[in-house]
Each structure stands twice: as C-alpha cells, then as structure tokens.
Subunit: 385 residues, 2 copies
C-alpha cells in the first residue's frame, strides 16, 4: 500500500485541511493517508481548542486513514524539533510520501532542497552547531545559513508554512530513504487572515471567530462546528493555575523547567503579580530576544511542569500512540507492525505509564480546563471509522 | 505597664472573643492586651475565612491593644508547635500574663500543672522524645505520658481548648520567668455546637451559618458581620489549585513537602483523579492513622509549597510582624523595643522578604481565592485604632 503522511495540528480541523487531505492523496497516489497530529499542546505554545480524540475523529471523518499522536515533548517545540519528531514518526511508520501546504511560490523545489541538504549534511551540521544559540529561532538560523549558499532559497517570516516545509525537508533528508515530497499550494494566502467569506479560512481566523461567537459553518465540516459548540479551550482557562504555579515555585524550581534560560525565571517572578491575564503576562515578559511564541511555549512548560531532564529523556524513548484509523489504516498497521521498531500503543494502561509520562501529565492538566473533557489516555482505544 | 497575652485565630472574631478579651483584662489586671493571631492559614489546616488584617482590625475594635501575626510556619501546625510558636512570641514581647479559654472544669489548676512540668522537665523531655512518633497527635502523647503520673490531669479529645491550654502551659513552663496563667471558663460548652440562639456561638457554628447564609448578627460584632458580607474564603476556593499541584508534582517533589511521611505521596497521587471536591479528597486519604486535621494541614503544605527544609529553617528565624495597635499598644512597643531581641516588622519591604518568605508565599496563594483580597504584606503598615 502506498502511504502519504501529513503533519498537522487541526486546531480546529477545517475545510482547508479537508482539501489538503484530498490533494495530497491525489498527488502521491496514496492508498493510505497517515496523519501525525499534535496532542493537546501545540507548536506555538498553546492548548488545543478541542481535545486530541475529538480532533482525530474530525480528520478520520474527512479522509485520514491513520491518526497518530505527536507527543508533547515533540509537539510543544520550535519548528526544528517539531519537524524532527513528526518526520521521524512518519519514517517509523514506513511512510513513503510526505505532503505539506506551502505559502511560498510553487517554484520552490523542496525535493531539490532536500537533496542539497543531504549532500551538504556534514558541512551544514557544523555550521548549524555554530549557530546553536537559544536566542535565534529556527527560521533565523535557516536564513543566516542558507540565503547566500542555496540560490533558490527564499525566506520570509510571514510564511510559516514554507518555514515548516523547509524544516520537514531538512529532517527528511537525513534519512537513507527520504519520503517523496509533495508540497501543496495553500488556497488562502495568509495564515493570519480573519476573513471568513470563502469556504476556506485559516485556523487562526476560525478560532477568533469562535471566541467572538461568529458563524463558522461555512469554513468547517459539520462535525467541527458541532464539537466547537460543546466546549472550547484557551490559555485563559489555565491562567489561575499558571499564576499559582509561578507564585509558589522557588527560583531554583523554575530553573529546572525546560528552556528556562538566561535568568528568565527572575523576569517571570518579578512580573507575575502585576499581570491580570495570560496575555498581559506574555506582553510583560516578551522582548526582541524572546518572541511571543517562545514565551508561550515556556509558559506551557511551566504549567505542565516539564523539566529539562524529563523532556530530553523523553526524546530517547519514542512510541506510536494510535488515536484512530479507518479499515484501510488498520490493515496497513497490521501489515507493517512486525517490522515497525517503535512500540505501538493502542491502549494505555499501567505498562505505558512510564513511556507516556509527559503526555499523561500534560493531558491531566489539559482536562482541568473544562469538566466536559474526558480522560485522555487510560483505557482509551483507537477511534474506528 | 502590665500586659496580658491571648493566643487566637479569630476565624471569625465573635462575641465570645470579645468576652474573653474583657475577662482576661479583668483577671490579669492588665493595661495592655496583646493578641498573637494566626495569619491567613490556621492551626486546623484551613485558610482563614477573612484575611489577617481584617481580623486584626476586628480585634482592635473590641479591646485588643497590640495584634502580632503568628507566622504560617507556627500557625499551620499541630497543637504543640502552635503553642511553642505563640508562647515564645509572647515571651519575646515581654508579656507577663497569659489567658486562654478552657472547656475543662475550672477545678483544673493549669498553673500547678505548669510548675509540675517545670519540676519534671528533663524526665518529661526524655519520655516525650520516646514518643516522637509522627502518627501520634499531641493530645495522644500528653495522654500517654501524663495520665498515670499527674493526679489531677484530665483529658478528653472533645476538649480542644483544654488541650491547647495544656500545651501553652507546658511551653510556658520551659521559660525561666513563666507568664502567670489565667484560664477563663468558656461560656458555650461545645466548640462544635451549631446553635446560634444565644449571644455567644462557636467560630465553627458561625462559619457554618455564614456558608448557609443564616443570620449571624446576634453572635458577632457589627464589624465582623459587615466584613463577612464582603467576601468569605474556604478550602473549596483552592481546590482547583491543589488538584493541579498534586497532578503535576512528581513523587519526589511531593516527598520534599513538610510532613509528607510514610509514603503519603503515593496515596495522594493515587486518589487525586478520583476526588471531585476538597472534602472528597480528605475523605479518601484520611485514616485511623492520619486524622482529618492532619491531612488538611498536609494539603495546606502542598498548596503553599512549604518544604520540610524551609519550615525547619524558618523556626530558627523569628520575628514580630505587627498587624495593628491602639495608642496604648504602640506606647508599650515603643517602651520595650530596645530590649526586645526579635526583629520588629512594622512595614514589609525588600529587606524583610527573606525572613518572611514563607508567609509572603502563603499569602500570595491566599489572595488567589478572591480578587477582593488585597496585598497582604508589601507596603502594609500597622492598623491604628
């Protein structure tokens, strides 16, 4: 069976995602569409608006055949680590194709970029290491390293999908048998657009519309619209917990948190009593050096009590947590499982507690936002469609 | 000036407390009434229904001349440590008399009990040390040690005020110049009574009446009734924070908390997802070995992130935080301050941050219950009446 992978967050699942699934399947001539989806905490340092099972179900209803969770220690990360975790996961599943949306010109040849990366791997690794500066975003590193050396390289910080595409391609190039790349032109030009006049709108625009109780039926499948009526999660739900956590943690406790660098713990302690809301705290703490997204991720690590040591340890113990499958997806998994080297988890019990520790702990916090959110791990089995 | 001390929580201040202040002043022929009052977290492991400044003000309006805070590392304690902290504090203030209410027969001679303790100090210390078993309450220890050796000793666990009286007397006896003891017969027989028919009711009965919105004007001064209309704090206000804290703390982090003994951290971790409310968690965790009060105190230590090392260190650094005074109280403090060896704090600033660290941290959490609760330490000066 020919497989095509998509890396997604589905926050929430909308018509653009449905279109992407269809197009990717077509382009890759795939039998099975595999989705690696962030769990309940997302790349930009925020909780998902709906829980992972509900979002997986939305994707399965609209063409996904197999949805696997990207665990929190890979999902709640800068673009390079996010890409590393998700591309590795697709490789572990023996996925043959990779498709992603791009907001760059279709002229850009990702496959060739991947080959370039492969050819210059050592040189690139060396140069990249020299740029191992926590104050630089992945995008900035890519820009500095490549803009003069790879002629067709284009970069703009207003193209988040293009940047993600570059990181996927880079990671993919590090494998002996890289996946075939199928970039898809995004229908909407801007990721941050707030218009909901056409059938396709960005996830950001949809979340804003939901918060201001505007109509979203035109831009999402019926199931997403229904799910969003049931409950919605946002950072403000966790604000009292975050404030409490920062107020009661000592400086040395905060210092143990993943990505707490350069005395950020002092800055947080000094600002926490002043802030009345989550957004206010981010405004008070962010700077040129520390972008909003970077601070939001740090605040997630604090909220979830994710320590430096624990995150780095989790990277060494990968697994495949299956959120759901179609008949075809299940067949594929059945066929491949003997040669898949990562543990496949289709039901979480005592035996999985250790390997899934960070995700379980994060989901326990996620649940506190709303009593309607049910248990996210123990006893759950894959959704079947 | 002749001084008489009272050890109190005023949760809330009621007519019985007013009567006690009057009677004690009379019996001790005191010019200045000194009150050592628990801050925002109380002996039985619960938050105060109103904040410490408001409660101090209520007492000052009704006859107290000087109100000093009993810091959290002494107030949130079993009876023996609570007594140790508060009696030491009165001695530090050169207080000459000590008065307390008792629910025992007036026949019991506390002063003589104190002398007995003084005479048998070494022997008692040795025996007491042998009983240094965390599973025994102070009352049980007293009972085992003394019932056969001190003829007039009487003990019943239904007499919480008598037990406190014994512990005060024991601690007082350890000083070279003990305070003169003036027990006062309590007007109400039972501490736990829920009737509000007379002018005097127990604090427990008043809190229950407040929670069920019953009339309390008859049993409290006008000021207390007004204050209780403004806001009321209870454990349930902190339940989401406590649940979050236990869910996200590792076993080894919980193990560092003060009084986390004999694997109680495992018990808490295993029950926390089951409990829907604070009371439910207490019910699930308490046992013959661990009483409700003991568990409530432990849950306070967790909520406030009070670590074993920090609490024990705080015991070595005493201070007098002045919450308020009358003119007479201020004169007394002025007169004595040169010979008072503990630091006197009448305004909290940067310089006091370290010595008051545990109280500041606890009050930061206390404030989270209700936006109406104002800053409890920084910049506050004594109330003057």
């Amino acid at each position: 069976m020919n497989t095509c992978g998509i890396i997604a967050e589905y926050n929430p699942f909308h018509n653009g995602h449905k279109y992407q699934l269809q197009k990717a399947k077509e382009k890759a001539q795939a039998d099975v569409m595999i989705v690696v989806m962030s769990g309940n905490f997302l790349q930009r340092g925020e909780p998902a608006i709906i829980d992972k099972w509900t979002r997986a179900n939305e994707a399965l209803q609209q063409g996904a055949d197999l949805v696997v969770e990207l665990p929190v220690h890979w999902s709640l990360q800068s673009a390079d680590y996010f890409a590393k975790g998700s591309v590795r996961l697709l490789h572990a599943l023996h996925c043959q194709n990779l498709s992603f949306g791009t907001d760059n010109s279709t002229d850009f040849d990702y496959a060739s970029f991947g080959r370039f990366m492969l050819a210059h791997q050592k040189e690139f690794d060396k140069a990249y290491k020299e740029y191992d500066d926590p104050t630089l975003s992945y995008a900035q590193k890519i820009d500095r390293l490549l803009s003069n050396r790879y002629p067709s390289f284009t970069f703009s910080k207003d193209q988040p999908n293009h940047i993600l595409g570059l990181t996927y391609t880079k990671e993919n190039a590090s494998f002996k048998q890289p996946m075939r790349i199928h970039p898809i032109q995004r229908v909407k030009a801007s990721h941050h657009s707030t218009e909901l006049t056409k059938e396709i709108a960005s996830a950001t625009a949809i979340r804003q519309a939901v918060l201001s109780q505007k109509e979203i039926k035109k831009v999402v499948p019926v199931k997403t619209a229904e799910d969003l009526l049931f409950y919605q999660v946002s950072w403000e739900n966790y604000w009292p917990l975050l404030k409490y956590k920062i107020l009661t943690s000592s400086l040395s406790e905060l210092k143990e948190i993943y990505q707490m660098v350069e005395g950020l713990e002092y800055r947080l302690k000094s600002k926490i009593k002043e802030a009345k809301h989550f957004d206010e705290l981010v405004e008070l703490v962010k700077s040129k050096r520390y972008t909003r997204t970077r601070i939001q991720r740090l605040l997630c690590y604090i909220l979830l009590n994710l320590k430096d040591e624990a995150v780095k340890n989790a990277w060494q113990h990968n697994y495949l947590h299956i959120l759901g499958f179609s008949e075809k997806g299940q067949q594929y998994l059945q066929q491949e499982k003997k040669t898949i080297s990562w543990p496949i988890i289709s039901k979480v019990g005592k035996a999985q507690e250790s390997i899934m520790a960070l995700t379980i702990q994060s989901d326990n916090v996620y649940q506190l936002a709303n009593a309607k959110i049910t248990e996210q791990n123990f006893g759950k089995t894959p959704i079947r469609v």
